[in-house]
């Protein structure tokens, strides 16, 4: 007998709806909480969306943030924020600081004089300081980037919704989109809660989370549709349980492989894309959860067409509900 790693037993008979009010309640609470946290704490927008300048400074000396701050405050160049970055990939004499300057007046990005002053000032307290990257976005562009990012997320949502609507039924589309919004909202909430930098890259991560979530949901829907055609009279809720149990192994398997890949990226990928990878990893967990506990609940509540045979229109069978209390 060959060895097989199986995280999920061959056959499961879990009743996914036994705790549906609890899980749905938790989801609802988390969604509201994410929204509140985002509104109250706000997102830590990167320069892509807020305009301004980010400098990545590298030094072989130990960095004294307080001294940096004092020096830069003396320049009177407006709002300055300084963070030290730690990463396991850094060697001992590599000290990275991230300096963020608020956007200046006008549409243009950064004035070279300002940048020069910052560099010269820092050199006086730390002669080894080097600017390894400088990124600057003017307020005009940052406003446009916010707009396109918003359009991108909306367009992706609508596109996916239309596709599912055509391939399945509108109830499925609603279910998929609600779970998609759930995942996106929870991801944004986490970003607000931990004040992780939110920029263009994060939008890419968010879109990936959304597509992963839908991907996961669609595979289950696909099986559900198949089962709907196979078992014409079984109550919908039983069919859903059967479907999720049948696809559970795949859901966990794919979630695991993706999580393995992303975890490697999270640990060894360096600090530059850490927040990006973190968003995706979080999204994989949330996406798997919403596949199991969100999407199909909505489809259950909305009901679906049960008879997929050709003469269904002549004799429509109403959706069946069962007491689940």
């Amino acid at each position: 007998m060959a060895f097989r790693l199986k995280l999920v037993p061959e056959e499961t008979h879990i009743n996914w709806f036994s705790v549906q009010w609890l899980t749905f309640g938790i989801s609802a609470v988390l969604m509201v909480a994410s929204l509140v946290v985002t509104l109250v704490m706000g997102l830590n927008f990167g320069i892509d969306f807020r305009g301004g300048t980010t400098i990545r400074a590298e030094s072989t000396q130990t960095v004294d943030i307080a001294q940096y701050r004092k020096t830069l405050d003396g320049l009177q160049i407006g709002d300055v924020s300084i963070t030290e970055i730690f990463d396991n990939a850094f060697t001992q004499n590599k000290n990275i600081t991230q300096i963020r300057l608020a956007a200046g007046e006008g549409d243009a990005a950064v004035t070279p004089e300002e940048l020069d002053r910052v560099h010269t000032a820092l050199l006086t307290i730390d002669p080894t300081v080097k600017f390894v990257s400088v990124e600057s976005v003017g307020p005009k562009v940052s406003g446009e980037l916010v707009k396109t990012a918003f359009y991108a997320v909306t367009a992706a949502t609508i596109g996916i919704m239309i596709y599912i609507w055509f391939r399945f039924e509108w109830q499925f589309a609603v279910g998929a989109v609600v779970s998609m919004v759930h995942d996106a909202l929870l991801t944004v909430g986490i970003f607000a809660l931990f004040q992780i930098r939110f920029d263009l890259t994060t939008i890419a991560a968010l879109l990936t989370v959304v597509s992963y979530s839908v991907n996961d949901t669609v595979v289950v829907f696909d099986r559900l549709r198949e089962n709907l055609m196979k078992y014409k009279t079984t109550p919908l809720i039983d069919l859903m349980n059967l479907t999720v149990n049948e696809t559970l192994s795949r859901t966990v398997m794919t979630g695991m492989t993706t999580a393995i890949a992303l975890t490697a990226m999270l640990i060894y990928g360096g600090d530059v894309i850490r927040s990006f990878v973190f968003a995706m990893l979080w999204g994989v967990f949330v996406g798997t959860y919403s596949t199991l506990y969100m999407a199909k609940n909505i489809v259950l509540w909305l009901g679906v067409k049960r008879d997929w045979s050709k003469d269904a229109k002549k004799d429509p069978t109403p959706a069946e509900f069962r007491d689940i209390g």
């Binding site: 890259t201 890419a204 839908v214 595979v219 696809t247 795949r250 890949a261």
Partner: protein, 554 residues
């Protein structure tokens, strides 16, 4: 389903081989790059040095040599998003129109009355005339300056729109003309930027138009955005003007048609020049740094036929006179004309070092930007950071792949090995396709590949789980495998098409990191479906044909 005809097997294996062959140059990145650079150098200079020959020999020419472009975040370099100030061009157009129109209207002063320009928006010319009842007449005069727009989109439209109400005539640039001007100006800007960037000899710069009036410039390998700005941002306007005199008082009053211009090197010296240049930078066809007979840095230049004729005529009748070279309203040098230069080729020498002469040659050759440009977005990524990112990307990709492969083999045994081979080939094919497309690999792009490694096995997982289910029902291996592939197909298509939708959205709406991610993610989707459905199946079919298994444990 498991009967794969020979030609299909050949096509599948052929595509895999092709993908891997195209990806191969990336494994020898440095060598292939040197090879390609040498070829580019030879093409540009037309001569071959021994170094070039050696560099070319480093990579066999019968092998593909297209490489994945490394993005700025991996290679280091500068990124600029510039906005071209079109309103300056519109303004210049209106300002240029005014004197001629004024003369024409003044000639009809008896009918239209006094003519006066009123302040208005930059892209409009607002004129007040004395006799409001003669507006029709004034409009007729102005209409002389209207010409049809010469673009396809603007066909049938005029360049100027003239409206009159009361004693006020408004001339504005039509929308068709505006978009034609915008196109022309941005195209010209792109061309000039490209030529200036090419001067520094960097490889693979990206210089593209973005939207109506934006220019995106990405130059790998350059030190900083400041450097890049200095290189392209100089709106150099070069003219050669006759010298009237040399003064030390900046407040010297110039005669009509003359101007007072400071000298660039000699402090406190001003030149009085004829305002109308003899030749301008536009007449120049070539300029290159060189040395004069005393070994000092100089610039050799050559004029086109028209410029040469005018330059020749002027120099022959003004021997012994100084002749000023004016760059952006500053006299660079006012050398004395030693002899008639009738061939159109000449030399500028004077107080310059080699660097300055190189810079001057670049400026002379590249000409002026047609309009001012401001920079809305600037990014500098140092080469060290790029190298760090490459290292991090490489390590994390390897660890991710090893992890996924180990997990797949532990879960599915032999079939897991098949899937793992398919995933590795998948990564190779992504790189191969990116190389051929000339797509750019960025750090988020690497993350996209890593994510693809994670999700690429998804299609295999869907198939294998189906086969497992079938195996519970039947012991017939062939039937189970066949059924598994068949049943899984619809889920695979649905799952990947939804991902494809969001990848496409990212590609078209995204910029920078979003786009970089979308590129690898999209290509990865296509190749992973191919490897999962066709390649894995072919491997399983080979295995079934070879071992004729009676049972299968999955």
């Amino acid at each position: 389903m498991l009967q794969i005809p020979l030609w299909k097997r050949i096509v599948i294996l052929g595509l895999v081989a092709l993908g891997l062959l195209l990806a191969m140059p990336n494994a020898f990145y440095g060598r292939v790059e040197t090879h390609n650079d040498a070829l580019a150098r030879i093409e540009k200079t037309g001569t071959t040095t021994p170094q070039d020959t050696a560099d070319i020999a480093g990579w066999p020419s019968f092998l593909p040599s297209a490489l994945v472009n490394l993005g700025l975040d991996l290679r280091g370099g500068a990124h600029l998003l510039g906005q071209v100030h079109l309103e300056d061009v519109y303004k210049a157009r209106m300002t240029g129109l005014w004197p001629e129109l004024r003369n024409d209207l003044a000639a009809q002063r008896d009918t239209v009355g006094a003519v006066r320009r009123v302040a208005g928006p930059d892209d409009q010319l607002i004129i007040e005339i004395g006799n409001a009842d003669q507006m029709a007449q004034a409009i007729t005069i102005a209409r002389k300056y209207v010409t049809p727009v010469a673009t396809l989109a603007g066909a049938g439209q005029s360049d100027l729109v003239i409206a009159g109400s009361g004693n006020r005539m408004t001339i504005s640039i039509s929308d068709a003309e505006k978009s034609a001007v915008a196109d022309r100006t941005v195209q010209q800007t792109l061309e000039i930027v490209r030529r200036r960037v090419d001067e520094v000899g960097t490889r693979e710069p990206t210089i593209v138009r973005q939207g109506a009036d934006r220019v995106l410039i990405e130059v790998p390998g350059i030190g900083s955005a400041e450097e890049l700005k200095a290189l392209i941002g100089t709106t150099a306007k070069l003219t050669f003007n006759p010298v009237v005199g040399r003064v030390t008082d900046p407040n010297t009053r110039a005669q009509p048609g003359q101007m007072v211009v400071p000298s660039i090197d000699e402090k406190g010296i001003f030149y009085v020049l004829e305002e109308t240049p003899v030749v301008t930078g536009e007449d120049l066809v070539d300029a290159r740094p060189s040395f004069d007979q005393n070994g000092a840095a100089a610039v050799d230049f050559r004029f086109g036929p028209n410029g040469a004729k005018r330059f020749g005529a002027y120099t022959s009748s003004n021997i012994g006179q100084p002749f000023a070279i004016v760059l952006d309203n500053q006299v660079i040098s006012a050398p004395v004309i030693r002899q008639a230069i009738t061939t159109g080729s000449g030399q500028i020498s004077g107080a310059m070092n080699v660097e300055q002469s190189t810079q001057l040659a670049v400026l002379l050759r590249a000409g002026a930007l047609p309009a001012k440009m401001t920079f809305l977005e600037e990014r500098t990524i140092g080469p060290e950071l790029g190298q760090d990112s490459i290292d991090a990307g490489r390590i994390s990709s390897i660890i991710a792949t090893v992890g996924v492969v180990a997990y797949m083999i532990a879960s599915y045994g032999l079939f897991g090995t098949f899937a793992s081979i398919a995933v590795l080939i998948n990564v190779g094919m992504i790189l191969g396709i990116m190389s051929v497309m000339g797509a750019t690999l960025t750090m988020p792009g690497i993350a996209g590949i890593v994510l693809t490694v994670g999700t690429a096995v998804d299609a295999n997982v869907i198939i294998y789980e189906r086969i497992r289910e079938e195996l519970r029902r039947t012991t017939n291996v062939v039937k189970a495998v066949e059924q598994g592939f068949k049943e899984a197909m619809s889920a695979i298509i649905d799952a990947n098409l939804t991902s494809f939708i969001s990848a496409l959205v990212m590609f078209f709406l995204g910029s920078g990191p979003v786009k970089g991610f979308a590129v690898t993610f999209t290509i990865g989707l296509v190749t992973s479906v191919f490897t999962a459905i066709f390649l894995t199946r072919l491997m399983i079919v080979f295995w079934i044909e070879w071992r004729k298994p009676k049972q299968l444990i999955l």
